[in-house]
C-alpha cells in the first residue's frame, strides 16, 4: 500500500440553528480545506460526502453538494455509518488513493440537525437502533449509553463523579475553542446536581446537538511532492470494526468491542502502541464514552480509566492529552461532520498549529470515532 497524507483540513463553526442550507454549510468546510491545501477543484479526484440521512431532507446529498462546490464532473458518492460517517469516508478515501484509483480525494462531512423539527427528531430518536427488537420497548440514544455507564460503574466500582470529571475537563478546553457550541465553564458540583436524563447519566454527561461541517483532503505521496505540500500529515494506521446492534448480542457492557478491535488494527498497521500516542481525540458523545475509550485504546488498563482522569493525565499537560479541543461535549456533535472535525484537530496538533491547546512536539496523534452505541468503530493514527 502506498503512503497517503492529509493535505488539507477545514471545519465550520459548530452552532445551534445554522442560518443557511446544507450546501452552504458544507461549503464552509470545503473552502477552508481547499485554501489550507492551496488546491484548485481540478486537483480533486473524487468527493465522498458523509452525513446521517435521518436528519436530511435532501435525498442523495452528494450530488447537490458536489455541484455547489464545483466538483463536477469528478465522481461523488455518499457514505453513512451514523456518528462516524466521516472517518468511514476517510477509510474509503485512503483505500482509493493507496490503491491508485484516484490521486486525491475529498471527504466532506456535514449535518444540519436543525433541518428537522424537534418533534421529528423525537420520533427518529426512538428508531436509533434495532427497530424490530429494541425500539418497541421505548429506547433512546442517551439510555443506551447510560446502560454502558451502569455496566461500567457496577463492574469497576467507579462513581458518577468520575464521569463528571470528564465533562469538567471538556469544558476547560471548550472555553478556548471559538468553533464550539458550548463555551461556558462547568463545575463538578453542577454536573452532579444536574437533572437526570437516563440513569446514571445527567444533563452534563451528554453532548449537545449542533449544525456543522468538516472537510479532509487526502493525496498520495507523489502528489504531495509534485504539489509542494508544506506540512503533510501521514495516515500511519487506520482500523475499522463493527459490533452487533442489539445489546442482547453484546458480550460486555463496560467496553466497546468495535473500538478495541479498530484500535488493535490501527496500532498494528502503524507499528506503534498506546504509549507512543502524544495526543488523542476520542468520541465523547457522553462522558462514559470517553471513559471507555481510555481503556479500549489502551491508555489505561481495564478499570483504570477513573484513575487517569482523577490524576488529570488526559489534560493538556498530562501523559496522554485527550479531547483538548473541548471534545464533542463542548464542540457539539453534528453527526456527519464529527469525525472530520476530530481529524482536523489532530492534524493541527501535528503541524504545531493548534494555538492555545497545542501539546508539546507531538509525533503521533490518534482519532477514535464511533457510530451508534459502539456499532461502528474507526481508529486513525496520524504522524507528522
Amino acid at each position: 500500500m502506498s503512503k497517503v497524507a492529509i493535505i488539507g483540513v477545514g471545519q465550520s463553526s459548530f452552532v445551534r440553528g445554522y442560518p443557511g442550507s446544507i450546501r452552504e454549510l458544507a461549503f464552509e468546510a470545503y473552502t477552508e480545506a481547499m485554501n489550507d491545501a492551496e488546491l484548485s477543484n481540478e486537483q480533486i479526484g473524487a468527493t465522498i460526502v458523509c452525513s446521517a440521512p435521518e436528519y436530511d431532507k435532501q435525498r442523495s446529498p452528494a450530488g447537490v453538494i458536489a455541484e455547489y462546490c464545483g466538483l463536477n464532473p469528478q465522481p461523488t458518492f455518499y457514505t453513512e455509518s451514523l456518528c462516524c460517517s466521516s472517518t468511514t469516508g476517510l477509510r474509503l478515501a485512503h483505500a482509493m488513493v493507496s490503491g491508485g484509483m484516484h490521486e486525491s480525494v475529498m471527504v466532506l462531512g456535514f449535518q444540519k440537525m436543525s433541518e428537522i423539527t424537534s418533534a421529528e427528531s423525537q420520533e427518529r430518536m426512538g428508531r436509533g437502533a434495532d427497530i424490530q427488537w429494541e425500539s418497541p420497548f421505548g429506547t433512546m440514544m442517551p439510555a443506551y449509553y447510560a446502560m454502558f455507564a451502569q455496566g461500567y460503574l457496577s463492574q469497576y466500582g467507579a462513581s458518577e463523579e468520575d464521569l463528571a470529571l470528564i465533562r469538567v475537563k471538556a469544558a476547560t478546553y471548550g472555553q478556548l475553542n471559538e468553533r464550539a457550541v458550548y463555551r461556558k465553564p462547568v463545575e463538578l458540583a453542577q454536573c452532579l446536581s444536574a437533572d437526570p436524563v437516563a440513569s446514571p447519566l445527567k444533563v452534563f454527561d451528554c453532548c449537545a446537538n449542533a449544525d456543522g461541517s468538516s472537510c479532509i483532503i487526502v493525496a498520495g505521496e507523489d502528489k504531495v511532492k509534485q504539489w509542494g505540500i508544506k506540512q503533510p500529515v501521514w495516515i500511519k494506521g487506520i482500523g475499522s470494526a463493527s459490533a452487533p446492534v442489539n445489546l442482547a448480542l453484546r458480550e460486555s457492557f463496560s467496553s466497546f468491542a468495535a473500538a478495541t478491535e479498530a484500535g488493535r488494527q490501527a496500532y498494528a498497521m502503524a507499528g506503534i502502541g498506546p504509549r507512543d500516542i502524544d495526543v488523542a481525540e476520542v468520541h465523547d458523545c457522553f462522558t462514559i464514552a470517553e471513559m471507555l475509550a481510555y481503556e479500549d485504546l489502551g491508555f489505561a488498563p481495564r478499570g483504570g480509566g477513573p484513575e487517569l482522569i482523577r490524576a488529570k493525565q488526559t489534560y493538556k499537560d498530562g501523559s496522554i492529552p485527550v479531547n483538548v479541543d473541548g471534545g464533542l461535549l463542548s464542540k457539539g456533535h453534528p453527526i456527519g461532520a464529527t469525525g472530520g472535525s476530530q481529524i482536523r484537530t489532530i492534524v493541527l496538533q501535528l503541524r504545531g498549529k493548534a494555538g492555545d491547546i497545542q501539546v508539546k512536539n507531538p509525533e503521533f496523534g490518534l482519532v477514535h470515532n464511533m457510530g451508534g452505541v459502539g456499532i461502528y468503530g474507526n481508529v486513525v493514527i496520524l504522524g507528522s
Binding site: A119, Q122, E123, M125, G126, R127, D130, I131, Q132, W133, E134, S135, P136, F137, G138, T139, M140, P142, A143, Y144, A146, M147, F148, A149, Q150, G151, S154, D195, P196, V197, A198, S199, P200, L201, N246, L247, A248, L249, R250, F253
Partner: protein, 146 residues
C-alpha cells in the same frame, strides 16, 4: 389486469411493544407464543445454534428450513439497565420506565423492567422474563422478580 387478489398480509408483529415499527416478520409466531404467556427464542435443528432475539434464518449454517421454537425458562441475571426521564414519541405515557438486558447464560434478552420498584433495581439481581399485555392490546415481555 389479472383477477389475482393480493395475499392478505400477516401483520401480527405490529402488536409488539408500546409502539411497533415492524409489522411483518418471518418470526411472527413470536407474538402468538407471547399471547399464550411464553417468551420464545429459536434454535437451528441443523447446527444447534440458539437465537434470541428469535430468527428464522441461521447465519451459521445458512439453513432456513430447520428452525424450531423453544421457551425461555428460568431466571437470568440483570446485566445492565437505565431508567429514562425522557421518552421518544409514543412512549411518554410509560414514563418513568427502565430498559434492561437480562443475561440468561446461553443468550441475553433486551427488554423492560416490570413490577420491580426502580430504586430496588440492581445489576446482578435475579429476574425472570414474562409476557405482558398492555391495555390497548399491544404485547411485550418484561423482567420481574421470580
Amino acid at each position: 389486469m389479472s383477477g389475482h387478489k393480493k395475499p392478505e398480509a400477516d401483520r401480527r408483529f405490529a402488536r409488539f411493544g408500546t409502539v411497533s415499527f415492524t409489522a411483518t416478520s418471518k418470526v411472527n409466531d413470536f407474538i402468538d407464543y407471547l399471547e399464550d404467556g411464553q417468551v420464545c427464542g429459536t434454535k437451528c435443528r441443523t447446527c444447534g445454534a440458539v437465537f434470541f432475539p428469535p430468527r428464522a434464518q441461521c447465519f451459521k449454517c445458512r439453513d432456513q428450513a430447520a428452525i424450531e421454537w423453544f421457551q425461555v425458562s428460568g431466571s437470568g441475571k440483570l446485566a445492565t439497565f437505565s431508567e429514562l426521564k425522557y421518552a421518544p414519541t409514543g412512549f411518554g405515557g410509560d414514563l418513568p420506565y427502565a430498559i434492561a438486558v437480562l443475561d440468561m447464560g446461553e443468550y441475553k434478552l433486551f427488554g423492560r423492567i416490570g413490577y420491580v420498584p426502580l430504586d430496588e433495581v440492581r445489576v446482578g439481581m435475579e429476574l425472570v422474563p414474562q409476557a405482558h399485555q398492555l391495555p390497548d392490546g399491544q404485547i411485550i415481555y418484561v423482567f420481574n422478580r421470580p
